[in-house]
């Protein structure tokens, strides 16, 4: 029987990689923040799959919540489009 967590884990890591590549080539910074949000959410998903609940709580509260808020505040001062 196939090992389900590793299977959906590999789907999640592929999605994270694609999101990171898209975020790197994106010119619109707000879109890049949302795309890196996808990357972060699949990171949290992989932490569940790899059995790390302590890290999961710390990561969800910090890596998802506070990081995006701080970056959006910082973006309010600059310009939205790169180049």
């Amino acid at each position: 029987m196939i090992h389900i967590p590793l299977l959906i884990g590999s789907i999640g890591s592929t999605a994270a990689l694609i999101a990171a590549i898209l975020a790197m080539f994106e010119k619109d910074l707000l879109k890049a923040i949302v795309l890196s949000g996808i990357e972060s959410i699949f990171t949290a998903f992989l932490l569940v799959v790899l059995l790390a609940p302590d890290l999961l709580i710390a990561y969800v509260a910090v890596g998802l919540g506070i990081n995006s808020v701080i970056l959006i505040y910082a973006l309010l001062r600059g310009e939205r489009y790169e180049e």
Binding site: S13, I21, A32, D54, L55
Partner: protein, 135 residues
């Protein structure tokens, strides 16, 4: 090589690709916020590689003893502890990574406020434009 090993190596390869993307974006892109985003992606990749190294497919439990209640918890005997250790994942990478998350947040907080002050001072957060202005 079993199917599980192939999937494990596939996850490792995508995570290394994630780290490479983060590093490349940190160097290539001129916008400060883009650099910060790529920094978070890079640190995510490093964390996940460390956690993946501690994972075994025969494990079914996180490194926390089940049944933790504040009143009425009975400490296990050595036999139960040995059984538990056979079915739990490695706690050491997780311990190291909790610290890494905190430090990463501290760095990001400080750098983001610096970027916001730079935006206030120069009117832009694009490093190319700031460099041109200095000439």
């Amino acid at each position: 090589m079993t199917l599980e090993a192939i999937m494990w190596y596939y996850i490792l390869a995508t995570l290394m690709g994630l780290g490479a993307v983060g590093l490349c974006g940190m160097v290539c892109r001129p916008h400060m916020i883009k650099k910060l985003l790529m920094l978070t992606i890079f640190s995510d990749a490093i964390e996940l590689i460390a956690v993946l190294a501690g994972y075994r497919i025969s494990a079914t439990q996180p490194p926390v003893y089940p049944g933790g209640v504040i009143q009425g918890f009975v400490f296990p005997n050595p036999q139960e502890a040995a059984n538990f250790a056979n079915s739990a994942v490695d706690p050491l990478p997780q311990v190291l990574i909790v610290t890494a998350i905190v430090i990463g947040l501290a760095v990001l907080l400080f750098l983001a406020t610096l970027a916001s002050q730079a935006g206030r001072k120069f009117g832009t957060q694009n490093l190319n434009k700031i460099e041109k202005r200095g000439e």
